[in-house]
Symmetry: C2
Subunit: 427 residues, 2 copies
């Protein structure tokens, strides 16, 4: 049997720090800009960014059927369109190239100078052109918490929630990679006790701890794909911060859902971790009761054991971890979300992104938003610098991290980190 | 003063049938495919499609600053990015080229053979790559009708409606041009009297009579544009049929809004009629009471007098007109919609599309959906062939037409026509 990229015995000739999210068993995909202003598709091992466009030009992918400029592009969409078989061949080849026993690149200083960059010397870009972005609402704990606060505490979960992976369309144009700061949005709100709304800076800016998956070309318009095929169409996952303005949301969201409360910014981690890399961390999700309708039924382990954590870093201060959650808490799986999404014939294309919805766990310290962690601002969180937070304050940086770990290997996402700037004031 | 494209005294040397939507004063923009499999940006006069890529190659746009391949593309996005000044120069030039007094193209059989096609010999494509699609909900009559049927008849209009142009995100991947048939969607619904949902073909497929506007690059993320600048960023308009599955919608839409009930298909007319062509048809919209907040206030005439009508054509039968409405009934203007959309810093790009929401007028025969026309199916509509319709039946074709008209000129949109096919059954 050939050695795959996942083989935990593999070591790379590139140095990988202890506890790195990016051992040679990860091989995520992203897009970066070099100091020479070259944009390329790349991967990461340890603290090195690797230029796959240059590797291809130097013939390291010989024997794999790829178009000539597959990696000399500013998005991964074409590569993702090529499908699972190609993703595997390329990922296994990359693992082989960087395997400590392989001298081909290791011993070529000339090639190494062209291909390998220190991670601090590149600027990560959005990895895909996102045609359509959907955000689900698949954490039972989150939906219950929000229902208790905003609607009826006795009937927190709406009647459809246990039957449908509820979702809605988000905005693609304001999805940005980690590192891009975000302005506090202006907007219309109805202050408590007022009869008429006001316009001004949102006072209740929040994060939402999410992951997202990125698809290949799934279907033609009008056709659907079943749950048992759905995972074949998922390329990989990223971390996602679904920035939210709670006061804008509360006033605008009936009856068509959140709009300006969400579409000012969505931040994602820049490296797409492949489903193949996550495969060893499959686990069972929560029991589904009532049993979903047949078109949503699945067999086997459809959840993944991904540790998630959120920190807030006040300006020039140390971070405080405010939440620890796990992807496996989600009630609806990605396979169910994608099958549901196409059940009406909705077309899904390469590079489309689907968010999980806020991932809240069962305990109060695992809730995935300030709204839930402070219970609507009633119980402020204590920061390590002595300050308190009800929601996110100007110049705070919100950092989401995620990783899988077992006795043999750690596969991580790195982080999505973004600072909240004061409102933009038009001159 | 130079003669502009709008001069109503102009005549074209191309024949224009009486009552055509496309006199030389219109000059809309679209994208078409020729029988030789060439895709090009084009315009239309009378029943002729005109290849703007070929016109550019033949130097007819000399003196206008355009990139060499501006019109030899499969979308209008780049042209729209060039901004209002360029749109005007090009539109005026086209009017000059086809003016009956101009012999340049008129008398060159060789050039005419390359440039001009019978409209029946080309296949219209989507005119733009739509990055993000937003749908508003700006007809007071429609929002009131829906509120009466689905919520509380006494408080039909929700509290935010008179203060915000309510909108939500739609799905770009399933926007198709006129002529593309649409499958009846499958989906999850809760039949009346049932405790648990079922999965099957939607029984309540509906049209929604809408228009949409297409923007140029509006802003950078984080910044907003005010109402008094908003119209400068609108390139033009199309007709839109927002296909809707009412039974799926009713079950899924709380709390995040419509999703699979809408995203199986959205049909648009293929020719974008420019705001310059519509300029003579400005009119006042409804009085806004209460006065909107300052960021939504406008001066002058912001509505347009666009006659709209919807027909249903049962298979192999004649059409029946089921609704006559007008764009001017909309409560919120496009300027208000766009300013609101960017008020939180949401980025809007070239080729983004924003739907009006269903355009219902004040009288029952001007309602913009079967839901309203038949009042939830209670009052079926009589077709000319003797049959009745509560909603749209398999193999029916829904046709939306729109035009502006005064004593001197008629500027029309043509039509968006699409047939509803039976559900797709996976083999």
């Amino acid at each position: 049997m050939p050695i795959t990229a996942n083989d935990t015995k593999r070591k790379s000739w590139l140095e990988v720090p202890d506890n790195s999210d990016f051992p040679i068993q990860n091989i995520p995909f992203g897009v970066f800009l070099t100091k020479e202003n070259v944009v390329t598709v790349g991967t990461r091992i340890g603290d090195y960014a690797i230029d796959l466009g240059a590797l291809q030009q130097l013939n390291y992918f010989e024997g794999i059927d790829l178009t000539d400029d597959m990696f000399m592009q500013d998005t991964l969409n074409d590569f993702i369109s090529d499908g699972k078989k190609t993703w595997r061949l390329v990922r296994n080849r990359i693992a082989d190239i960087f395997d400590e026993t392989n001298p081909q690149l290791r011993d070529s200083t000339k090639d190494r100078d062209i291909v390998i960059f220190n991670i601090d010397d590149v600027e990560m870009q959005l990895p895909v052109l996102i045609g359509d972005y959907t955000d689900f609402y698949s954490s039972r704990e989150h939906a219950t918490n929000v229902g208790k606060m905003f609607r009826d505490p006795e009937n927190a979960l709406l009647p459809n929630w246990l039957h449908i992976p509820v979702g809605y369309h988000g905005r693609s144009s304001t999805i940005v990679p980690s590192g891009i700061p975000v302005h506090r949005p202006m907007g219309q709100t109805l202050p408590a006790g007022h009869d008429t709304p006001v316009f001004g800076a949102s006072r209740l800016v929040d994060f939402e701890l999410e992951t997202a998956f990125i698809t290949t070309d799934v279907n033609v318009m009008g056709e659907n794909i079943p749950t048992y095929e759905a995972e074949d169409y998922i390329f990989g996952m990223v971390l996602l911060n679904d920035w939210s303005a709670r006061d804008i949301q509360k006033w605008e969201y009936v009856p068509l859902g959140p709009f300006l409360a969400k579409n000012f910014a969505t931040s994602i981690s820049p490296w797409i971790v492949t489903m193949d890399a996550l495969e060893p961390f499959r686990t069972k999700g929560p029991k589904q009761d009532p049993t979903p309708l047949p078109y949503l039924q699945t067999k086997g382990k459809k959840a993944f054991d991904i540790h998630l954590e959120v920190s807030i870093q006040p300006e020039n201060q140390e971070e405080t971890i405010v939440s620890k959650s796990n992807f496996k808490y989600l009630y609806w799986s990605m396979a169910q979300q994608l099958a549901h999404h196409t059940s009406n014939g909705c077309r899904v294309n390469s590079g489309d992104m689907m968010g999980s919805g806020t991932i809240s766990g069962p305990t109060p310290d695992s809730f995935g938003s300030m709204l839930e962690l402070t219970w609507g601002g009633k119980n402020p969180l204590k920061m390590n610098d002595g300050s308190e937070r009800k929601f996110i304050e100007d110049n705070d940086t919100v950092i989401i991290r995620g990783f899988c770990e077992n006795a043999e290997v750690r596969i991580g996402f790195g982080e999505v980190s973004s600072q909240l700037l004061p409102p933009f004031i038009r001159q």
